[in-house]
């Protein structure tokens, strides 16, 4: 599941980051503000490593 999602996101964003990494924003408040500022959809990936 994680791999599929990561691949899908890389398909959308990876080309311009050149390193194949998804530029995850790890501060949800800052990310949501960024989405509002840019008028874009935010994709929230809820995860937990137990």
């Amino acid at each position: 599941m994680r791999m599929l999602l990561a691949l899908a996101v890389v398909a959308l964003m990876g080309q311009e980051t050149h390193d194949g990494k998804v530029p995850w924003i790890k501060d949800p408040a800052a990310g949501l503000q960024k989405a509002k500022l840019e008028g874009k959809v935010a994709m929230l990936w809820f995860t937990a490593d137990w």
Binding site: H18, P23, W24, I25, A35, L37, E38, V41, M43, W45
Partner: protein, 186 residues
């Protein structure tokens, strides 16, 4: 069409007890991993419908098409700003916002105050965390750090570090930015 930044990817780490509880409750998250798409105002559009790679891509593309974003002076990331600035042969300006800053109001103010400096620099907006301040050698936010994208390690050799005080008028920042451009040309 450039694909970069068509959606804003946010990792919500719920590993610690109570971590991001408010968001989990708001979007009714009951297990992990869960993916939720929200509109620019934070209203949930949908939960991820498919778990198949191609369908996920289509799903994201569909949402990105519906919310294409609006023009902004900010590059999606520092890395992208540095790449664009290198091509355009102009400096990068990192605006380090205070965590309490309202970015919408801040952008509106800067759009008004900066004049053509909006396009003379490749701007990137970052919320100043302790690690970022340390990395850039800045004491506190808000501040602007000007980088020369043509050097090997731009963040290690900043052209200027401009502290912004609450009562500073717009021309204080503008003058400092102009000085930074001049010093790069020398």
């Amino acid at each position: 069409m450039a694909a970069t930044g068509r959606v804003v990817p946010i990792l919500v780490d719920c590993s610690a007890n109570g971590q991001n509880e408010e968001l989990k409750t708001k979007y009714k998250v009951q297990g992990f991993p869960t993916v939720v798409y929200v509109d620019p105002d934070g209203k949930q559009i949908k939960e991820m419908g498919s778990r198949e790679g191609g369908a996920i891509t289509k799903e994201i593309e569909g949402l990105a098409a519906k919310y294409p974003g609006k023009p902004t002076m900010w590059a999606p990331s520092r890395k992208i700003a540095l790449e664009a600035a290198k091509k355009a042969k102009k400096p990068v300006a990192i605006y380090l916002a205070d965590e309490k800053d309202d970015l919408i109001k801040l952008t509106a103010k800067l759009t008004k105050d900066l004049g053509d400096r909006k396009t003379k620099f490749a701007w990137v907006l970052e919320t100043a965390k302790e690690a970022t301040l340390k990395e850039l050698g800045v004491e506190s936010a808000p501040a602007v750090v000007v980088l020369n994208p043509a050097v090997d390690e731009p963040t290690k050799e900043p052209v200027a570090k401009i502290a912004i005080k609450e009562d500073d008028k717009a021309d204080v920042l503008n003058k400092a930015l102009d000085e930074a451009v001049k010093s790069m040309k020398k």
